[in-house]
Symmetry: C2
Subunit: 649 residues, 2 copies
């Protein structure tokens, strides 16, 4: 991907961006403020900049006079960078230079870590779970009446050193015809045992040589969304991916309401069928998109939280929500897809990630496995923030984990204009410290509909940095701007005026929203603190953070530390693994090493029920501030605030 340099004046900040990036996103990433209220759709006309050198494409609008256009004015949200450019932000929309130099802080997002099959192999972690062997047997004749299956097993023993083979009835049923299609020239699919002492199962026979095609499917069952990947077991590549809303949503937004539903009448069956239907839809999509032959799929690996797992398997989840909160099983056996109603061939086995406890489920175990946390010596905080938040601290020697009652604020829940990270969600924010005018960017560069998790973090952090809100999340009542106002007794900030939105209302951020965000981040932070304290460690011992979950890829790490969501750590030590559950499912499809070790890892993961851990409440109360009641835990945030507020006088 070609990149271009963008230099912003008068800030004198240069940033490298991908070719075709919009100027406003370049500015946002550079930490340069440009007033902008319409999300990037070009309707507010506020984001006027002058292109002093280089080429941009677009950005000419009827909101710019002919004279302005000739002077080089362009709308920053519409102008796409096509070469190295120098962009001047006009005085009317730039903040006071003294603050400006302090405020400039390029976005720091986490390094993205992905599954790297070659590296798995190099590290000796590759233990193939499914292998194909092409064999040419002697056909039976008058001197050799061996049964077909015996013939195959003897051939594999004599010519391939395969011992202790098991053959399923489904395979036996295929044998007579498959063997005779190409005169006993067949490919045998072998599912390897997890432990070397186990037996290899012959799970498929196909006529001719099909060894080039060996596939598995990885599935993440989220409470909200279900993702699937078609995994090529030869290259390690994902051939297709698809996500869909979990069909159970119509029976309840969160796990508790789902459990309540499952307890009534045939609720369990309804929820079971709903999730199977969604998975089948996902399967259909990824099979079509990857254009593979279903017969070459031998395995499906599945990760989900404890409730999702029990509903998938039709195991009554009612005791998950009742004290003392015990799930039915930790480890599940391999399951035949036909037992679940999954529309894959009869021979396919489903492997389900084990659960630690009622609220730390297979999705988290999958994350710990898939992210490699279980193998590192470094003291690690693994944090998965989705509909709920779960934290794991530890390393290869030990792990402690807990579910944090964070609620769904980071997915938009409990936030007046909160929404998931979808088109029209404000995902980034900057503010002019003098005029208090915002710069907002939305997903899809359209007029805003609401604000998503990463947008919320950035907005609240930025407001706090510039003193727009105090450390309890309350607006400074003395600021002179019509954007801060009291409506029905509640103070709020107008992120976008009605006429620049898609929702025909002013989009605002209220003090209640901020309070909810503080509660959520407080629950997560205090959960991590409690875990560390319970194992006799503290924040300074942390060597790395692995972030997982839907909103994590774009979140500005510095901002997340400013609000006290993340402990203060060098952003270089933060990795983002995206959908860790899906990653873990894919890893388990790629190598048996994961399955060999997952039971021991799950056993090692000591679960803490925070509500029953006495120190938790103290940690929680102390965390209900921005960033925390104890600023010494956030020395860099403290220093930055002092600098900024000093500069602003």
């Amino acid at each position: 991907m070609a990149t271009n340099k963008v230099t912003f004046l008068p800030h004198e900040i240069t940033i490298e961006v991908e070719d075709g990036q919009s100027v406003i996103r370049a500015a946002m990433n550079a930490g340069v403020h440009i007033n902008a209220s319409c999300g990037g759709e070009g309707v507010c006309g506020k984001c006027r900049v002058i292109i002093e050198q280089g080429q941009v494409e677009g950005g000419i609008s009827e909101q710019l006079s002919q004279e302005d256009r000739e002077k080089g004015y362009r709308l920053a949200c519409q102008a796409l960078v096509k070469s190295d450019v120098v962009v001047r932000v006009p005085v009317e929309s730039a903040i006071d230079r003294s603050v400006l130099n302090l405020a400039k802080k390029p976005r720091r997002t986490a390094r993205i870590k992905q599954v790297d099959f070659e590296s798995i192999k190099e590290q000796g972690l590759f233990v193939p779970p499914v292998e194909k062997i092409h064999i040419r047997m002697e056909p039976p004749d008058a001197t050799n009446h061996q049964p077909d299956v015996t013939r195959m097993i003897q051939h594999l023993r004599q010519h391939h050193g395969e011992h202790g083979l098991e053959v399923s009835l489904a395979v036996i049923r295929k044998v007579p015809h498959v063997f005779r299609e190409k005169d006993f020239d067949v490919t045998v699919t072998m599912a390897r045992p997890v432990r070397p002492s186990g037996k290899t199962r012959i799970v498929n026979v196909q006529s001719g040589d099909t060894t080039d095609h060996n596939l598995a499917i990885a599935i993440d069952i989220g409470t909200t969304t279900i993702f699937g990947q078609m995994v090529d077991l030869i290259s390690g590549n994902v051939l297709a991916e698809y996500g869909d809303f979990n069909g159970q949503i119509s029976y309840g937004e969160d796990v508790i309401t789902r459990i309540v539903f499952a307890e009534k009448g045939d609720g369990l069956d309804i929820l079971h069928k709903a999730v199977i239907k969604t998975i089948n839809n996902v399967l259909g999509k990824i099979i079509r998109r990857s254009k593979v032959d279903k017969d070459n799929i031998s395995m499906i690996t599945i990760a989900g939280n404890t409730t999702m797992t029990q509903l998938l398997l039709k195991v009554d989840p009612r005791f998950i929500r009742r004290s003392p909160y015990v799930p039915t099983a930790g480890i599940y056996p391999p399951i035949r897809v036909s037992d679940l109603g999954l529309e894959l061939d009869e021979h396919v086995t489903a492997l389900v990630y084990p659960q630690v406890s009622s609220y730390v489920g297979g999705d988290i175990v999958a994350g710990v496995m898939g992210s490699g946390m279980y193998r590192t010596e470094k003291l690690t905080l693994f944090l998965d923030i989705g509909t709920n938040a779960e934290a794991v601290v530890g390393n290869r020697e030990w792990m402690a984990c807990a579910a944090c009652s964070a609620g769904p604020a980071f997915e938009g829940g409990g936030i007046k204009f909160g929404m998931r990270a979808a088109k029209g969600a404000i995902e980034d924010f900057s503010i002019d410290p003098v005029t208090l005018e915002p710069m907002i960017v939305t997903i899809g560069d359209v007029r805003p509909k609401g604000i998503c998790g990463s947008g919320l973090i950035t907005t609240v952090a930025t407001m706090f940095e510039f003193g727009v809100i105090d450390n309890q999340g309350k607006f400074n009542r003395n600021l002179k701007t019509e954007r801060i106002r009291e409506q029905d007794g509640i103070w709020e900030y107008v992120l976008a005026w009605k006429d620049q939105t898609q929702v025909d209302r002013d989009i605002v951020l209220t003090e209640i929203d901020i309070e909810n965000l503080i509660r959520a981040k407080g629950a997560i932070y205090s959960g991590c603190m409690t875990l560390l304290e319970e194992v006799g460690m503290n924040i300074d011992d942390l060597e790395q953070i692995i972030l997982a979950g839907g909103f994590g890829s774009y979140v500005d790490l510095e901002k997340a530390m400013v609000i006290g969501l993340l402990p203060e750590i060098d952003p270089d030590r933060v990795t983002y693994v995206g959908n860790a559950s899906l990653m873990g499912a894919r890893m388990a499809a790629l190598t048996n090493k994961i399955r060999q070790e997952v039971v021991a890892v799950t056993d090692m993961m000591t679960n803490f029920e925070l509500s029953e851990t006495p120190s938790y409440m103290d940690h929680y109360v102390a965390a209900l501030f921005l960033p925390h009641t104890d600023m010494n835990r956030f020395p860099r945030v403290k220093a930055r605030l002092e600098q900024l507020r000093g500069a602003m006088g």
Copy 2:
């Protein structure tokens, strides 16, 4: 059972019989001839005898005059022995005394061998396949949130030394409620692995203590009939037994016609469903009769011939009947009953006996295992005569086996009045060497409908002994009796006149019937000879014969040797095991020892396709005589014939 002594005069033969036995059956067993044509129903009035001492019950008929009654005349077929008695057979219905003394030859049937659980235990052959353990777990509380299943597994490990446990999804689904019914007081059913290195599978959980109830089902799938037994795994007893005709019969009498049917359209599915329906019917019956709780049944063991097994498992059997005659599989994995449609609880596993070849199937392997042949040092001939006949020779060191193309003559097939051993079948026969009048006894003591296998053997043997037929099965045309006649060019003997039958026709035995019987017995005998020869042995090396199959329990061993069906051997060395397939299924249900050894035994059983074994045809042609072309193979028969025929002049 009380017994009484019956002394026949003028023969001076005394025999011990059960209290209540009919005089005519006592005579038959003693080898004493009394004319009798109506099968024991009392209508022909020919079987007049005089009770000289002791008490009988019944036998007074209107066919006896008052005077006769007072003299002590009774009908032998109606008179039941109630004390020690002396019975005189009147001169008019007894044969000439000189022959009489030679002819008297009490019936020699084989010793019946049955499953003896105590002896299995004493011999160290008892390895329980399914065990129940009653446990009282600590219920979960705030200090112990272990998942339910983990709690159970840990409890079993700590308190019962159980390791390497596997739990099925079906069990996991039961766990949450079963555990809480009696506060974590449960009984766990464990299916033990065949090999010690394998894993124990937890197949059921029940609340409270159910260790007293531990059941399995044994099934024999015959081409004609399906038998089932409810086996108590604690006492070893059979709690109920039931047999039913195989529902596949309407689609073909024998395995070949079934295979032909299976090849067309959805024939395989139809036959599969038909056998499952019959088995379900048998299951329903034995469950009701034994009044057990279905939940306590953990296993079903099944034995059947190769075709029956493949139809049961819905594995296309078409290649069984095509050269080079290979079955699909020898060994089948344990199968879940739900995969077959068997109406047992989901947790029940079906174990299916392995097959040696297309025509030596699981029924024979089951017989070899169940009869203990696989453990004996004695050179043994195992012979299973049913719809088809299979022979195994060998001992614990080696075995050779073959299917003999005997056809269904012993089950009545190809015999003009042939029928299965059911009510009205002539099952025993004797002849007056002078008058050539018969004595017939039928199953159920009713007027005859036809003749069954054992009746046929005895009839043909007796006729041969007295020279009524020659060694090629042809009637002596010179005998003066209206019972021997030519009808439509075919010679026959009238076993019962029309008015004494249930079928409104004379019941006859034709030369064609005899020819078919000779072919059948010739095929079996020559099959055994061929096997022995192929392994370098001969008939004199045989130390014992194990007979199995439907007609074997009542067959007169001496008579079977007279016709050359069985090699000549001391009758004491012949054991009858009845339905060996069912016996083997039951044994496999009772002890894992069988399953541990069955694969090695099956591998050891060298199969011979007789049609491809050159020496077979010579043996066969030589066996198409009574008893054989080479009388030196049957020295005792030879001696007896010389004696009898000498006496008869």
